[in-house]
């Protein structure tokens, strides 16, 4: 048994679209132990969801792993057949999607959709399944579970539906819960409730969580480690403290600057990161963030930055931190 629950090594993943090959993941390495909470932060299209989905083999039909390995609980996910993957999905790894409004099937009752997954992955029968579904609804803080089980998704509010999604995800007590922007589609007060619930459930059940978000505020309170992704690469990785108090990569710094700070006396203007996200069909040759980076140097446009390691697990990929290699490269050739 591997010491890591999730062990992704140098994963490369491409989507083959009519417009060409989109290299969605470029050498992504993630290691995570049981019971840890990892936050993956980045903008749309940065590959955060793709990374997490590949842990349960949920890649879209036109996507293909082009290199590297994906291990879950010591087993190679990237080598599994669809049949083997099905035994893991919903049982050992579960997922909560972004939009609870559309993630539940509108034509079946809540009870039906929860019981379905219990029936599939456990030996429980009839009344036991129903009993378990009721327990799950109580667990995620839904009152009158008996009545809710008979209702259809459109009869519940957004927050309530997300709780149902969480109940479905937790039905078989998974080792890993992937939360793909679980609060993005909800309003702010409900967001806080859902995050609180997840925190509470994590302490109660002790599963590992991968929290995917573009909101640094969401990860701050919950995550042990944070990976900042940009254009299919992890540009900075570290503990929550490293990322918030000692950010190294210019992109991470930019993200932190764009969070509103309410404790400051004078309300300073938010600083946006200028420019457009990377066109993944034609990624830049050098550092993917270079075109938007305020401290961009010549080398950034031509060569991909190497990993610079700091204290503990903290690392980033940025030429600014790579003074030595940078100078060597400048000597080598000034193209």
């Amino acid at each position: 048994m591997s010491e890591y629950l999730v062990n992704i090594q140098h994963e490369k993943l491409s989507f083959f679209t009519p417009a060409g090959e989109v290299k969605a993941l470029n050498d992504v390495t993630i290691q995570m132990k049981e019971g840890e909470v990892l936050g993956i932060v980045g903008e749309s299209g940065s590959g955060k969801s793709v990374t997490a989905y590949s842990i349960m083999g949920l890649t879209a039909y036109n996507g293909k792993i082009m290199g590297g390995t994906v291990e879950f609980n010591g087993r190679r996910i990237d080598q599994m057949s669809e049949r083997e993957l099905r035994k893991i999905r919903g049982k050992e790894v579960s997922i909560i999607f972004q939009d609870p409004m559309t993630s539940l099937n509108p034509v079946y009752t809540i009870g039906n959709q929860i019981e379905e997954v219990i029936r599939l992955h456990t030996d429980k029968k009839g009344a036991q399944i129903h009993q378990r579904a009721r327990e799950l609804l109580s667990l995620v803080g839904i009152n009158e579970p008996e009545k809710r089980l008979r209702q259809y998704p459109h009869e519940l509010s957004g927050g309530m539906r997300q709780r149902v999604m969480i109940a479905i995800a937790l039905a078989c007590e998974p080792k890993l819960l992937i939360a793909d922007e679980p609060t993005t589609a909800l309003d702010v007060t409900i967001q806080a409730q859902i995050l609180e619930l997840m925190q509470e459930l994590k302490e109660k059940l002790g599963m590992g969580i991968i929290m995917i978000t573009h909101d640094l505020g969401v990860v701050a309170s919950m995550c042990d480690y944070i990976a900042v992704m940009y254009a299919g690469e992890i540009v900075e990785y570290g503990t929550a403290e490293d990322i918030f108090y000692n950010p190294q990569h210019e992109y991470t710094k930019g993200l932190l600057k764009s969070i509103p700070k309410f404790h400051e006396k004078e309300y300073s203007k938010l600083v946006p990161i200028e420019g457009q996200p990377v066109d993944m069909l034609n990624p830049p040759k050098g550092c993917p963030f270079a075109p938007r980076c305020t401290s961009c140097m010549k080398i950034c446009l031509n060569r991909k930055p190497e990993k610079t390691e700091f204290e503990g697990v903290h690392y980033s990929r940025c030429w600014l931190q790579q003074k030595k290699e940078y100078e060597a490269a400048m000597k080598g050739g000034n193209n």
Binding site: M56, G90, D99, T102, N105, V107, E116, Y152
Partner: protein, 305 residues
């Protein structure tokens, strides 16, 4: 639900009344009359016939008399088939058309739905292209052509199937194929596009993430959502196929309602035109109502009011 049905029944009655009124006056505006075609009739005899059926009276009086009879469910006598009432003719001819049309609809649904689903799941592949080409052909080929071709090859050339009548079960094969070709192709196309739409929905991803097999997720999660457009199409389809197709009935010599309907128009058999039109209208209304109720049953988000 009972309240809804009462409401719909009332609306149906109003619609039927409007259809009857419009048909009555438009029909009488068309030149010609039921007894003009018979050459050997003297003017005196014609006047006597018209007097017998009340056609000599003013139009408004004819209309009131007809509507009164209609209220009692009496569609009047046929002017051409002497001695038989329109009610009798519909009662004998409709079951023939309804049975043939009903079988054709079953074929269309049970072939069209799987074909469309299979095409969607093989999107862009050979099988999908094959089904698209096939269904386009099915929509484009008129049924007088397909039934003639069927008859030419299967009856005349190969002598496999009987070419007329409905005496044995095998007699049904060719007319059912000819009748169901268009709806099968249409349903396949509807199903393909709605299936593609449903497959891209988030709840299908949820089903996959739960570890449900592809097969089960199609049957349980996709089909019930994707079938709705087909159900909508079924309402008018049921009405048009079950009341008989003039062309198919003529070609295969089937004694159904479709040929009666068209025959009544060409021979100006006024009560027969009125009777079949009203019957068709009421049938369409009832079928649409059944479809609406089925809709609410399939999709709980739809509430009948």
């Amino acid at each position: 639900m009972p309240k809804y049905i009462v409401k719909r029944a009332f609306m149906a009655a109003v619609t039927a009344f409007l259809v009857a009124t419009l048909t009555f006056f438009i029909m009488n505006m068309v030149p010609g009359g039921p007894f003009l075609a018979e050459k050997a009739v003297t003017p005196q005899a014609q006047a006597a016939m018209e007097a017998k059926f009340g056609l000599d009276k003013p139009l408004s009086e004819q209309y009131i008399t007809y509507m009164e009879d209609l209220m009692h469910g009496d569609l009047g006598p046929s002017l051409k088939k002497r001695g038989r009432t329109v009610n009798q003719i519909i009662a004998t001819k409709f079951p023939v058309s309804a049975k043939l049309g009903g079988i054709a609809i079953l074929v269309a649904v049970f072939v069209g739905v799987p074909l469309g689903s299979v095409a969607a799941f093989n999107r862009g592949k050979f099988l999908d292209n094959l089904i698209i080409v096939g269904s386009t052909a099915g929509i484009a080929i008129p049924n007088f052509l397909s039934s003639t071709l069927l008859m030419y090859f299967l009856s005349t050339k190969l002598n496999l199937l009987p070419s007329m009548g409905l005496n044995n079960p095998v007699n049904y094969i060719m007319p059912v194929i000819a009748l169901s070709l268009y709806p099968t192709a249409y349903i396949a196309r509807l199903m393909r596009s709605s299936m593609l739409d449903v497959m891209g929905q988030d709840y299908m991803r949820t089903a996959r993430a739960k570890g449900i097999s592809t097969f089960k997720s199609i049957f349980k999660h996709a089909l019930r959502n994707a079938i709705l457009p087909v159900v909508t199409y079924l309402g008018p389809l049921l009405a048009s196929l079950m009341t008989g197709s003039f062309i198919i009935e003529k070609i295969f010599t089937i004694p159904g309602l479709g040929s009666e309907f068209v025959g009544a128009i060409t021979s100006r058999d006024y009560p027969m035109i009125m009777g079949t039109t009203i019957f068709l209208a009421v049938f369409i209304i009832i079928m649409n109502m059944i479809v609406d109720i089925a809709y609410a049953y399939i999709d709980p988000r739809i509430k009948l009011k």
